[in-house]
Symmetry: C2
Subunit: 372 residues, 2 copies
């Protein structure tokens, strides 16, 4: 039944190996981010060991992966007061869950929970390396030391620093990604040096994003690397030069439900509900609309994209300016649609239909979780 989410397991394995190979001769530990996959079946293939380490983006993910035996977890979104008790509860059940924060207020709230539970809850100080989403300026020594002091004096534990170069998604070339990776590394290492100079312990120095993990030239001073979307890749990553479109492991299977030859359009039964509203390639050199259209073997048709989408309808057509012909597709024919953003498209689906072989055969179904 279409639309549905296809996961090419062999391509996924190659993507996992690619990053593993890259990190094989480095001294950094790898903590995959599971927010992209939200599935223990995929996570098991990404994890270095079944018990972790891993990164999550919600406490619902933390609880789910802990239930499935992942015991070393980093909750990578700035903590709030109302979530402290849930963190403490999960730790009391035996999970080594650490948190990130960037202000004294939350550090003290965490300390209070730590004292109440008799558990020195570990925290990483979030550092802003230029993404400006959250985090302390790495040059702001007084704030870094104030948070670190608040943590240790209040009863919590300072485990280290973390940063994420989200700006790597806006790079225009691989060499620019390499420069951003160096900025990311530098910010984390400098913040850690500030803490160490103030006699604060800082055992973890954690950095990462898929582009910087794959194209960073130097891990000097870093102890841990994080990445998530590398497992599937997507059109945004291909547009950055991080992967080829042939390396994208995720696609949406869809059926042609109408043809409009006069407007050179085909209508399919995948709209934004199946693709998400993500338009991450809109600012890239090649705008892929709501997705790049492939035949059922996964080979892209030239310049054939989803131009418009409504809830359950996608309008396919040739990219404006292209002279490529409209593929000879009729009502009832199927296509595979590569997503702009794997995290966003996968989140629209309850399950992965795991395919292998050529022609692709669905081997099994893997469930995803959602919510907070």
């Amino acid at each position: 039944m279409t639309p549905c989410l296809l996961l090419d397991e062999e391509q996924m394995s190659r993507n996992i190996l690619r990053l593993r190979d890259r990190l094989a001769h480095s001294n950094v530990s790898f903590r995959p981010h599971l927010k992209t996959v939200k599935s223990i079946d995929v996570a098991r293939q990404m994890l270095v060991r079944p018990e972790g380490p891993a990164t999550v983006s919600t406490l619902a993910e933390a609880e789910y992966f802990a239930d499935h035996g992942v015991r070393d977890l980093l909750y990578g979104v700035g903590l709030t007061h109302s979530k402290v008790s849930r963190v403490a509860r999960l730790r009391a059940l035996g999970t080594d869950l650490s948190v990130v924060l960037d202000n004294v207020d939350i550090a003290e709230a965490l300390g209070k929970a730590a004292r109440d539970s008799g558990d020195r809850i570990p925290a990483l100080i979030e550092v802003d390396c230029g993404d400006h989403r959250g985090g302390v300026d790495p040059e702001d020594s007084s704030t870094l030391v104030a948070i670190a002091s608040a943590l240790t004096s209040s009863g919590a534990r300072l485990r280290g620093v973390m940063t994420h170069a989200g700006q790597s998604y806006q790079c225009r070339s691989v060499s620019e990604i390499t420069r951003v990776a160096e900025i990311e590394r530098g910010a984390a290492v400098r913040a850690a040096a500030t803490l160490k100079a103030a006699n604060m312990s800082c055992s973890v120095i954690s950095v990462g994003s898929t582009p910087t993990a794959l194209f960073g030239a130097d891990h000097g001073g870093v102890t841990e690397l994080r990445a998530g979307v590398y497992v599937f890749f997507d059109l945004v990553m291909a547009g950055l030069g991080v992967c080829q479109t042939s390396e994208i492991a995720l696609s949406v299977l869809s059926t042609v439900i109408g043809t409009r030859p006069r407007e050179r359009r085909l209508i399919v039964d995948a709209g934004w509900m199946a693709m998400s509203r993500d338009r991450g390639t809109a600012q890239q050199r090649i705008d892929q609309g709501y997705g790049l259209i492939c035949d059922t073997s996964g080979r892209p048709y030239p310049d054939f994209i989803m131009l418009e989408s409504s809830q359950e309808h996608g309008q396919l057509g040739v990219r404006p300016g292209s002279e490529s012909p409209l593929p000879p597709l009729s009502v009832g024919d199927q296509v595979r649609i590569l997503p702009n953003h794997a995290c966003a498209t996968a989140s629209q689906h309850e399950v992965y239909h795991v395919i292998r072989g050529q022609p692709a055969v669905v081997q099994t179904v893997w469930h995803r979780i959602r919510g907070w």
Copy 2:
């Protein structure tokens, strides 16, 4: 726990009454579209009778609502071959499910299924009134008659015609909506006249979208009206002039997790996972970013919007060009965020937290379904 989806039940009831009052003195039947709500608890308040009529956008919705006693259902997305057997199965269980189609090929496939099952499956011919998403040109008499003939001669049943003025979402004024409503009505009525002139029965003439349902001046010749988003409203509808922002019944509750006074930004724990990536107001006169920020009572802060979003982070700030001050919010404070597009934002959540009263108190939780 934030982020979570709040539904103001009293406001929702007023929105439902508004359209009901508008249709009270007309002769058209009302078939609410349940794709926005995907919840039997909300649907029960929209439905004229518990058994329907209603419109759905997926067969998963059809099965779910049929399970909950809604027996008169229109599946409003163009049928494909692979879905015919599922339609026949649902009908065999006692649901009067009708389908829409716009080509002879599917009409014949439906006819074959009808003969096989001994059930004259009813279909509406989809007409294109200018949205160009699907449907037959209303002036294309030969195609209209060919589809109607294919339906009746193959063993299925022609129930009527349907059209949807999706272009009403791009209108710039209420008077333009009224004009589009007249185009929508005219297309359906002309297509029906073509079929009747060819001695085809056409008992249902179905039109609708929330804007045209609320601002259409004339229902002459129409037998049935459809609308969905009117139940919640959203910022796109407010931007069109269809509602006030104070009439939006849906919001996302979120917590401040960081402050960046230098950049005049606040960071909250609702990103695109909670809001969706929908940027439906981007082309309107007032761009609301990823949502308009309100205090916990639901009153908007002046010009305060979500400027950027990542998966679990939202960056709030004052709209560019505005001199409004940054609201005095600190880490741990909560805000309510009005969505651009109710269908898209609601689909990111598993449940509605139904609130009533001032200050709002969560009365109950209503579940939503998803998938296809």
